[in-house]
Each structure stands twice: as structure tokens, then as C-alpha cells.
């Protein structure tokens, strides 16, 4: 494809020697084509136990009622909507990576988009279960769809942000699913071609008769681009609408025009953190260091830093506006985040999301895998607390002081949340067993232009400006998957 040589000063997107198309296929399909390892079994057991806990906790809630959660007359939403927004936010990275980065031709996305998209889908599934589970009468959930009916044409309330949410989430889920699956087709065909017996049949059906002809590839590229075009506004719209669940209310702490951009930035922030959390492990466990390189890790850290800083600015803006508006209730709400009974939640939110991520200004931090991993977890803890603070701390003390109350979670609240993480990881672990966790077809595109060996060849050709060569070699020092000794004599 890219027949010309890529500039030497760009860092390689694939490292390692002797990377061939076959090696990529072998490396990526290793977990799909072999029996799972012990580590996978351990992870899967833990995750599916979590999923069982979720099934139990949600069934318990359905059986006895929402009263089994810690909600009360004042705090009508707490861990449920916190969990919902948290999961939707996490789901944002996938679309951003697959759609926006594709449009901007950011080729480094090719190694991470598959997992990120899968993650999106699983996160949206977790989020959607929260929507249904938090309803008082989930068996009447169908009322929230604008279906023709016999009630004298009774429609949904198009004024309600919750209805917008229904549309937003369902659109998002279906588009993400289609996008993800379309991308999977060539890779599924690869598995099919290498498989035998029943697996071959299954993958044959799943790959929709992919032939790999030029025409097919051309259509594939076109569809990808169109889907990217459709998905791009969704990246912005979904969390904008989720933020309107709050912003269109009267509640001090919710009723804020800054919410849409603030929420979108926060969503990308937490989404990238989750991608980071997962990929740092996947990379190690599945031995994919050559495809998910330090460059990827650092790039994601940079996005986390950027979005984290946007979120930080949003926080400051909120406080400023609360002060500047002179609104009594607004002021109290923001003061209450630090001085009220939930001050610790406020500290977790601001500390984790703003203070901790500012460490990413340091390259040493950005390129340190253990620190990056810990920070990615910290970010998601912080983002969970952000939603908790916005929802619970605002609700628990609003206009009428007589109704001020505290929210205490029950063990069911806790089980649903932990269980939803279990569901997520169960799905993710199943995913890496049956689908290639890296988009092989797209990574292969980069071998001839952006891989370390292609660059090495370029260096070896000797036609490179020495200062550029030095720059390149300098850049390679951060990579943990590059043998620097190879470059000593070059």
C-alpha cells in the first residue's frame, strides 16, 4: 500500500526483527488457535464468578425491588447511574480510536482499535444493563420506546433527556457493533482459512464469505470510512446526551451548560485509561510487545493527559461559575463537595483525575509501564468518583434542607457494581479467545512502511540525514521491545 518510504523521524509502530505477515498472523492468532493458558483460566474464573455475582444481585433486585439498594427519598440515583455513566464513558475510547483516529489517519490506532472497540461494546452492554436494572418496573421498559400503541397514541416524552438517552445509547451500541464486526471480517476469514473441522465452519459463517479479492478489500475500506464518518459525531453526541440527563435538570451541581464538553472529555479520558489498563496486560500476557509498543503507550498517555487537563479546566470553571453566579444553592453544592459529609469523595475525584494525571507531563512517567498501569486505574477510580460526586453529593443536599439525607450503599449495590466489572472481563476474556485481539489486516498494512525493520532498512541504506538518524535512534531508547544493540554500529 504505502509504497513510499515513511520519514525516519517517525517512530516505528511495529518493532522486532523478522516481522512477516505470517509472523503477525501467528502471533496474533496464538491465543485463538491454542488451548488457553493457566493465566487465562485464572482470570476467567475470577471474572465469571464476578458475572455470577452480577446475575445474582440483579435478580435479587428484580425480585425484591429497587429498595434492596441504598437509595432513598432524597437520593434517587446513586451507584446505578454512577455505574451507567462510568461504563458509557469507558466505552468512548473505542469509537474515538476507530473513527476519529481513522479519519485523521493516525496509523498507530491499527494495533489497538480492535480491543478498544470490543471494550466499547462490552462497556456499553454493562451500561445498558444498568439502565434497565435501575428502573422500578423494568418489565415495562418497553414504554420508553416510541412504539405505536392502543393508548390513544401515547408517545414517549420527547422533552425528556432520558428518552434522548435511550436513542443515543441504542444508536451508539448498534453502530459500534457494526463497525467492530465489519473490521473483524478479514481477520475472521484468516482464522477460517487456517482452521479445520467445526471451527472452520463456524468461522466460515462468521466471516460472511470473505474472499480477500481486491474488490472486497476496496469495499471494506469504503465501508470502514463511511462507518467512521457515522461514528465520529456519535463520539461527541453520546456523552453529550448522557450529560444532558443532568444538565437539563434543576438540580444545583447538575444544571450546568459546561456539561457536554466536560463529559465528552471525561469519557475519552476514562476510556483511554481503560484501554491502557487492558492493553498493558494483554500485551504482556499474549506477548504482543512488538505490536503494542511504547509508542502506543505513550501516545495514549498523552491523550489521557490532555483530556485529564480539559476535565481539570472544566472543574475549575464549575467552581468559578458557582462563585460568579451568586446562586445560593449552586454555591452551597460546590462548597459541599469539600466541606460536606462526602468530602472524601470530592477529594478522590479531584485528586485522582487532576492531580495524579498531571504527573504525565514527565516522559519518565509516560513511558514507565507499571506507573502507567497504576495511573490508568487511578483515573478510572477518579472518574467513578466524579460521577458519584456529581450524582450523590449534588442530590443529597439540594434545595430544601429538611430533606437532606445520606446515601449508604447496600451489599447489593456493591455486588451489582463489582458484578458488572466481572461481566465486562468475562466478555473481554472470551473475546480474546475467539477473536483476534489485534486487527491483523490493518497491522499488516504497516509492516512495509512503519515497522522497525522497514526503518532499519532505511537506515542501513545510508541515505538518511545523520541528524535524523540520531533522532530516530534517540527515540528508540524508550522502547522496551527494541534491541538497542542492533543500532550501535549503524
Amino acid at each position: 500500500m504505502a509504497s513510499h518510504n515513511e520519514s525516519i523521524i517517525r517512530e516505528p509502530l511495529i518493532t522486532g526483527k523478522d516481522i512477516t505477515y505470517a509472523k503477525i498472523t501467528n502471533d496474533v492468532l496464538h491465543p485463538v488457535e491454542n488451548m488457553p493458558t493457566k493465566a487465562w483460566w485464572i482470570g476467567f474464573t475470577v471474572a465469571s464468578l464476578g458475572a455470577c455475582l452480577w446475575v445474582f444481585a440483579v435478580s435479587y433486585t428484580f425480585w425484591y425491588g429497587i429498595g434492596s439498594w441504598g437509595l432513598n427519598k432524597t437520593v434517587g440515583w446513586a451507584w446505578d447511574i454512577t455505574g451507567f455513566v462510568w461504563w458509557v464513558g469507558i466505552g468512548h475510547a473505542g469509537t474515538l480510536i476507530s473513527a476519529i483516529l481513522l479519519m485523521f489517519r493516525q496509523n498507530w490506532r491499527n494495533s489497538i482499535n480492535r480491543s478498544a472497540e470490543a471494550m466499547t461494546i462490552f462497556a456499553v452492554i454493562c451500561a445498558a444493563t444498568y439502565i434497565v436494572a435501575h428502573m422500578g418496573r423494568p418489565w415495562m421498559a418497553v414504554y420508553s420506546l416510541p412504539l405505536p400503541n392502543q393508548y390513544g397514541s401515547l408517545w414517549v416524552n420527547f422533552n425528556s433527556p432520558l428518552i434522548w438517552d435511550v436513542f443515543a445509547i441504542s444508536t451508539y451500541f448498534s453502530v459500534s457493533l457494526v463497525f467492530w464486526y465489519t473490521g473483524l471480517l478479514p481477520d475472521l476469514a484468516t482464522i477460517r482459512d487456517r482452521a479445520t473441522g467445526i471451527r472452520r465452519k463456524i468461522y466460515s459463517v462468521c466471516s460472511f464469505g470473505w474472499t480477500g479479492s481486491v474488490k472486497t478489500w476496496q469495499r471494506f475500506e469504503t465501508v470502514s470510512l463511511i462507518l467512521a464518518g457515522i461514528s465520529t459525531p456519535l463520539v461527541l453526541s453520546v456523552h453529550t446526551i448522557v450529560s444532558m440527563d443532568f444538565a437539563t435538570s434543576l438540580e444545583p451541581g447538575w444544571h450546568t451548560t459546561i456539561f457536554p464538553p466536560y463529559f465528552v472529555a471525561g469519557a475519552i479520558f476514562s476510556g483511554f485509561a481503560m484501554v491502557q489498563t487492558l492493553l498493558l496486560i494483554t500485551r504482556k500476557v499474549l506477548g504482543l510487545e512488538n505490536y503494542i509498543t511504547m509508542f502506543h503507550i505513550e501516545s495514549m498517555n498523552k491523550i489521557i493527559l490532555l483530556t485529564g487537563s480539559i476535565v481539570g479546566v472544566a472543574y475549575m470553571t464549575e467552581f468559578f461559575i458557582a462563585y460568579y453566579s451568586g446562586g445560593e444553592y449552586e454555591q452551597y453544592t460546590f462548597l459541599n463537595r469539600f466541606t460536606g459529609p462526602y468530602w472524601w469523595a470530592g477529594c478522590m475525584m479531584y485528586g485522582c483525575n487532576v492531580l495524579m494525571t498531571q504527573m504525565m507531563w514527565f516522559k519518565k512517567v509516560r513511558t514507565n509501564i507499571p506507573i502507567s498501569w497504576v495511573l490508568s486505574i487511578v483515573v478510572n477510580i477518579g472518574m467513578w468518583f466524579e460521577r458519584f460526586v456529581i450524582i450523590v453529593t449534588s442530590l443529597h443536599r439540594d434545595f430544601i434542607p429538611s430533606s437532606w439525607a445520606m446515601f449508604y450503599p447496600t451489599w447489593i449495590d456493591l455486588s451489582v457494581f463489582i458484578g458488572s466489572i466481572g461481566v465486562f472481563f468475562t466478555l473481554f476474556l472470551l473475546f480474546i479467545r475467539v477473536f483476534p485481539s489485534i486487527a491483523m489486516g490493518e497491522v499488516k498494512l504497516l509492516v512495509k512502511s512503519s515497522s522497525e525493520q522497514a526503518k532499519k532498512k532505511l537506515l542501513d541504506s545510508g541515505h538518511i540525514d545523520p541528524s535524523h538518524a540520531e533522532f530516530y535512534k534517540e527515540a528508540l531508547t524508550k522502547f522496551d521491545s527494541v534491541e538497542l544493540s542492533d543500532y550501535e554500529k549503524v
Binding site: 429498595g67 437509595l71 435501575h134 428502573m135 422500578g136 418496573r137 429538611s402
Partner: protein, 1016 residues
Amino acid sequence: MDSNKKYWKGLEELNNDPEFVEKNKHEFAEPIPIEEILSGGGLMAKTPRRDFLKALGFGVGAVTLAACQKVPVHKSIPYLIKPEEITPGIANYYTSTYDGHAILVKTREGRPIKVEGNPNDLLSKGGLSAQAQASVLDLYDVNRLKNPILNGGDASWNEIDAFVKKELDAIKGGGKLIRIVSSTIHSPSALAVIADFIAQYPTAKHIDYDAISYTGIIQANQNSFGKAVLPHYRFDKADIIVSFGADFLGTWISPVEFTNQYVQNRNNKSLQSKKMSRHIQFESGMSLAGSNADVRIPIKPSEEGVALVTLYNQIAGTTLPGSKKLNNVTADKALTIAAKELLAAKGKALVISGSNDVAIQVLVNAINSLLGSYGSTIDLDNHSNQFAGNDHDFVELISEMDKGEVDAVLFLNANPVYDYHSSSAVKDALKKVRLRLSFSDHNDETASLCNVIAPNHYYLESWGDDQVLEGYYTVVQPTINPVYDTRQAEQSLLVWSDNAVKEYYTYVRNNWDKSLLAKGGLSGQKGWETLLQTGFVKVADKAAGTYTFSRDLNGVAQTILNQSSQMEASGDKLEVQLYQTVAIRDGKRANNPWLQEMPDPVSKVTWDNFAAMSPTDMKKLGHVQGDVITIEANGYSIALPILSQPGQAQGTTSIALGYGRTQSGPVGDGVGKNAFPFHSFRNGTFQTTAVATFSKTGDNIILAQTQTHHSFEGRNVIRETTFKEYLKDPSSNSGGSIKHKKYDDLFWQDYELEKKPYNWVMAIDLNACTGCGACVVACSAENNIPVVGRDEVRRRREMHWIRIDRYYSFNDEGKEVTEEQEISTLKDLEHVSVVYQPMLCQHCDHAPCETVCPVLATVHSSEGLNHMAYNRCIGTRYCANNCPYKVRRFNWFNYWNDSRFDNYLINEHTHLVLNPDVTTRFRGVMEKCSMCIQRIQAGKLKAKMEKRPVKDGDIKVACQQTCPANAIVFGNKNDPNSEVSKALNSERTYYVLEELGVQPGIGYQVKVRNISEFEA
């Protein structure tokens, strides 16, 4: 007989044509098209195999499914002969009497479902207490005795009668004593029955025993004026009221009546005529009356006597021997001002004391005599019959029983084993009594020690009468056939005394025919029928005489001062003040879940009693709220959680009576601890204070409070002013709400409510509302509001559609302090102002709940109401989150069908109390105040049938109807002459959170405090 008649089925047969003959050869006249139907193959067949299988499959499936469900058999038994007066769906109202108040009982299809005040009731003009409202539920209490009990086993009434008569005759023959112990009876007919009984059994005597006794006042009036009566107090005639620990708005003597009187000098009408009474309260614990006082001074129980002596000295200008100065500077100062003001308002002043001590009440009489209260604010001639208990008589009875002189005790509405201070004394004494009989309809603490229980009818099943005020005769009539096999106590007494009149109904009739009807200018059957419709007869009041106190006070003062020093707690002891709560009172209705769940007006605690302590004391002793302490006095100890009560006098604790029942039923048993044993008997009366030691237990429990934040944070949801400011500018501090301009709104559909015939709104006068909470229970009864129990209240999930918010504010050197942060730094937490604010759905015209509901389950009506369609609700709870008033209530569980909520309202019979006009709500749906939409509909229907528009006052919502203070006015805003329009036009009107632009439909009137002289 032969006949040649020929029968034929058709012309074909008659004519016998060949075609017919041919056809008739076969079994079926025409060929059955089996072949045709089954012919052909595959899809070409007439009836393809698939169609056949489809039909078969569907048929079998449908039949199987239909057969799966065992169809429940609901037996509905129609009236064989429909009673003329009962139309299904139409309520009937019957006059009756509750505790002396004329009431109306609403019945549907023959079952009482609600008690409402008789609008013509002399005492409270239609207002009723929470207890009265809740009383209807007790009718259906499954824990009532279902039949009489003889020696612990079920018995028939004949067996009981035979046994009791045999016993009584034997006792009569043996000359042993017979005693009837009852709480005060104010029914003329019942008293006559007892008199007849005593005539039959001359050794019998009737003893009035009240758990909450007013013997002190009665005795004091005997001492002072020779009239052993409870006077009729007239708070409506008092310009200045000084109360020493008498909670006359909550529990003292006749609180509903007093509320009605009290508010007449404080409501909008009074304010507009530039008149407002002043109320000064000296008390230990924060009572309902104290919380409404303009000035409230905390004093210890031991200081009350000294304070009264001081007040007397100030007013009389003398010094009683032994007088000493109060150790309480604020109280001392307040007493001086109070004395000055009382004297200035001579003839329109009233001093009362909640003490049951004769000496104190004599001194109070002396003060009132000096102030010229007799004949104006105190009426001794048209006296009250509400309480006649004589403590001494009961104590003497116990010693008689102990000595074995008494062979028969009959308990009528009395439960001394629970509420006498020495339960063991009663128990021991009872062991020596041969015939122990209780008329209780529960197997209560006393009844369970009796060998005969002859369960009484409930008042809603009874005939009777009442005379709670001299000359005010009310009638009691049954509204339902007895639910269980019970018999009216009076009837039993008639039977046992072989009375000539066999039926108590006849007895009552005779009694009325003989004398009472004539008093109301009625006579005969017609008169009786008129009485049953009006409910009462009133004899013109006698002129209230003036009485002058002329006895020597030196001895009295000495007694008081001696007692005061005895009561003084030294060291680390606490002075205990015992009081009744508005909901539970003396504990007789402890098994009523509505009352248990009704938040105490002041503490907002449900389902428990507690030890109220001053926050200052708690800090000093290192206690936090909920710490369980053991309190010991009179050799009795109980462990109670502490409640932090601003305004509680330091060094004291207040404990509610009426809790800790052990045999009231599953609802009331074990709720709280019994504090009656802290009572003591001194100088001929029960004393309601004690000196106690206390110790930590180390436990901490969470009290089930419906409100846990107690200050209004300086927010303008509460607006109050002083009377002085009000006189200068009536719109003082109201924000001039009614002058606000309304802006057109781009986003809101214009309902054009002002062009519609009706726009239902409400006005609530914060200056009239005393916070008594009767509306909360009335609303529960009217709207089938579930009871959720202590644990759910702890989780802040009570379901009440109307709540009374109670806020404390403090005074720091003239500055009002309302914010949590500042309050925590204050030293003086005793001088606290209280404000009550009833809060319910505001029916906003731009309702924030409506816009956020995804499924249009809550929508606006063309009459300005905010509707809730339960069937459409999917329970996202966004409406509740977005409600700035937090008045929406969510059904967290299926409160109507969940075993965890058994014993509250889902017993075998309790669902009979449900209002059939209001659906019960399933779990997962939101609910809230509907402004009694069923009443609005009923009112509109009635008007329509009478071909007229709805008149103002036709429709009364439940909370408004029961409010003894008339603080709530409901009506049509589009009628400029309606009460509510007038009320909302008051300069004091403001709307809570109006700045949010939600356009609430309920206007509040600013609270006014009459404190001018105390401000400095």
C-alpha cells in the same frame, strides 16, 4: 287411540320425493367432505398438513396454557336485599363522637374508612387530632379479641354472663368490695349504667383512673374554689398566655380544641385586624406548644415551682415566705417581663401549668385570680369533663386489694399493669382478687392477668353518648356491625346487673328521651333522628362566674419550694421530665401503625421513644445522638437512645410515656421503653418528674427520624418576621411575591390556566400551623399511604405525601443563626426558635418533574394539577431527583404484598380500611400528593348532578379538613372570591423556591413572631 295424523319434517318428506328417499338411506343426509378435505397432497391439499398441524398445535398449546392457571375463586356476595341507603361507590357519613369531639364517619359499602371532624363540632370546628384520624384503623386490628375469654380459654357470652353473675352475687353476698376501674368516662348514659350497676351491687364503687392524670388541677380547684372540676380554658380570649410546661397544643387536656382557640388570635384574620396574642412558654423539654411559643425559656422541672413563686411575687407585689431567686438569669428576666405583660393584659391573660401537683396548681389559681382570668380565659362553670381521674382513689384501691378486701375488679379502658408506676404492685394486688375482669378488646397487660375478658365493642361499633364539656352532649352511633364477637361494656354491665332495660341502645334512647333531647329543643323519634344527623345537642352556656382566690398561700409556697429542692438533681444526676408524644399519647393506641410512623412534631422521630438531652450537656458528657444510656430512678431503669434536642434545659432529660408496651399487639410491642414507672405518687397525685442517675451502655442506635438536618441554612424557603415589623409593613419579609411579574416562557406550553374554570391551588399559613401532624395521618388514611416501618424510615423511605418540615434557628446576640457551620460554634443552644412548614407537592405550573419523565407518566392537568399515572410509570426516579421540594415518594418495595411489611397494613382485615377511590401503588412506581384528586372529582360530579358550578368550600382536601388550626386552605384560584384566592392575596404570601421559575401552586404565608419586648 289410533291416529292417522302424519308428522313430517319438511315438504320433501311429505312428498316423499325420490331424491329425499335416496339421501335418507345414509346416516348423514349429505355426504361429509372428509375425502375432499383430506384430498390432495402437500401444499396443494385443501387442508394442508401444515395448516392442520398449526391449528392442532395452537389449539393444544392454548388449551394447555389456559389450563395451567388455577383460576382463583373470588367469592363476591351481593346484597340479597340491598339496603336502601347503600349505593356502591357512594360514601355514607354518620355522625358519631370521638373522645368528646363530634365527628363524621365516612363509610363505603358499609365499612368505615375514615373519620372526619364534624364541621359544627364546638370544640374544634371540624379539626381532628392525629389519634382521631388513626382511630379508624384500630377497628380492623386483627389483634383485637375475637370473642370473650374465661380463665384463659375461649368462651361464649352466655358462659361469661353465668360465671360473672354467679361470682358477683357471691361477692355481694359475702359483702366484699367490687370496684370498677376506668379511665375517665364522660358519657352520661355509661355513667348511668354504672350507677345502676352500683345500685344492684351496693359494695361496688367506680374509680376513675387516668394514666395521664389531671388530679392536681381538679384538687386545686376544690381547694381554691370548692369546685372539683377541670376548668374549660379559653385560649381564644387570652391576649397573653404563659405556660409552665403545659403542652396545650400537643397533649394537654384538649389540645385540638386549644389549637383551634389559640390560632384565632394568630391567624391571618387576627393579624389583619392588627392583633396577635403573645405566648411565653417555660418548660424543660421542647414540646409542641413550646415550639410554637413566641418566647420559650428552658427551665428545669425543679425550677418550675420557684419560677411560679417568683411570678406570683411579681404580680402580687408581695414576697411569699421562703421565696428565692432563680439560678437562671434568662428565666428571671423573662419572668419580670411576663409579669408586667400579664398585668397589663389583666382579664385577657392566662397562666397554666402542666404539673399534676396540687400545690403548684393552687399557686397557678392564685395567679390567675389576680389576673382576673376567671370568667374570661378560665371557665369553671361550664367545666370540662375530659379528665376526672383521682389518683388517690386508685392508690387506695391497690391497698384495699392488697388487704384482700376487694373481690372483684372490673377494668374498663384502663390498663394499670402497664401505665401505673408500680406495675408489680398492681400485679401482686390482683393476685388477691377473686374476680378480675377486663373489658379490653385486646389481651393487654392487665387483661392477660384477668380471669374474665369481656371484650368491649370499638367505638365505631357502639351506641352511646358523650358530654365532654358541660352542656355539650354528643351522640355515638355504630357505623358497622361488630367485626368480632364482642359486646359493649355497658351492655355487659346491664346484663350483669339484671337491669330492666335489656339493650344498651334502648337505655341510651331512654336517657336521651328523658332529659337530654329536650335540652336541645328536640323530642321524640323525630328529635332523635335529628340528633343522629346533627350529632350533638348544646345547652346554652352558663355565665362563667368570676372566682377570687382567697386562701393563704404561705403553706402552699412552702410545699412548692420544698418539693423543688427535692426535685433538684445534684452531681451527675439528671432531672427527668415525662411527657406524652402527640402521636402515641398514653400508649393506648400503640398498636396503630399510622401513629407509630407519624413523625413526632418536634423530634421527627418515629417508632421509638428516647431520652432528649441538651446538645450542651451531650458535649459535656461526650455523648453523640443515638448513644444508648441507662436511666435509673425509683428503682427502675431503662436503656434509651439519646436525642440531641436543642432547647432542652440543661441538666434535664425528657422521656416520652406510652412506649414499651408488651401486649399491645405486633406493631406496638417492644417499640421504645416504658417510662410510666418513673412516675411517683406524692401529696395525693402522680408526679411526672423524677431524678435519675444515668450511665453509658456503649451502644449506639440510629433513631428513625424523617428529618435529620435541622436548620434551614438561611435559605428563603422559610420566611419569618416579627409582629412589630408586620405592623409597620404587612408584606415584611415576604419578598412581595404577589407583586412579581410573570414572564412568558418560550419553552412552556401555555396552559392558559386563568381562562379555565378551575385552577386548584392551596394556601398554607405558617403562622397558623402548629405542626401537630394531624394532616399527615389524615392524608395516609385518605390516600392509602403504606406504612413502611422503622427500618425503612431509617433508610429515609417513609411514604408520607405531606410532611411537616421543622427547622431550628438560634439567636446569637440579636443575630439569627440558621447555618449548620455557624450553629456548631454556638454556645447557647437552648434559646431556639422553631418554625414548621407543611411540605407537599406544590403542583407547579412549570413542573420540573413533568419535563424529565421519559414516558409521560406525570403530566399537567388543565386545572393546574400535576397528575401521576401510576400505570405508565416505569420508575426511573428522575422526577423525584428533579423535584426541588423533594416531595415525591417511590415504592421501593411492594409495600402492599411483601411479608416484611406484615402487621402494618396488610393484615387479614386491614385492607378494609383502604379508600376504594384511591388505588394502592405497586412497587417500582412513583407517587405523591394528588391534591386529593378523588375528592375534587367527587365534588365536581356532585355539582354537575345538581347542575351548578363547584362552590368554594364544596371540596376539602384531607389535610385541610383535619387541620385544627385551619392553616391549610384549598380552592379555586380562578374564583376571586374563594377563600384561597383571598388567602393568597395576603401581603404575607410567598412561594417556596419561586426564584426557580417552577411556578408552584401553593402559597405560604410568612410566619410572624410576637417577640418585641424580648428582642433586646
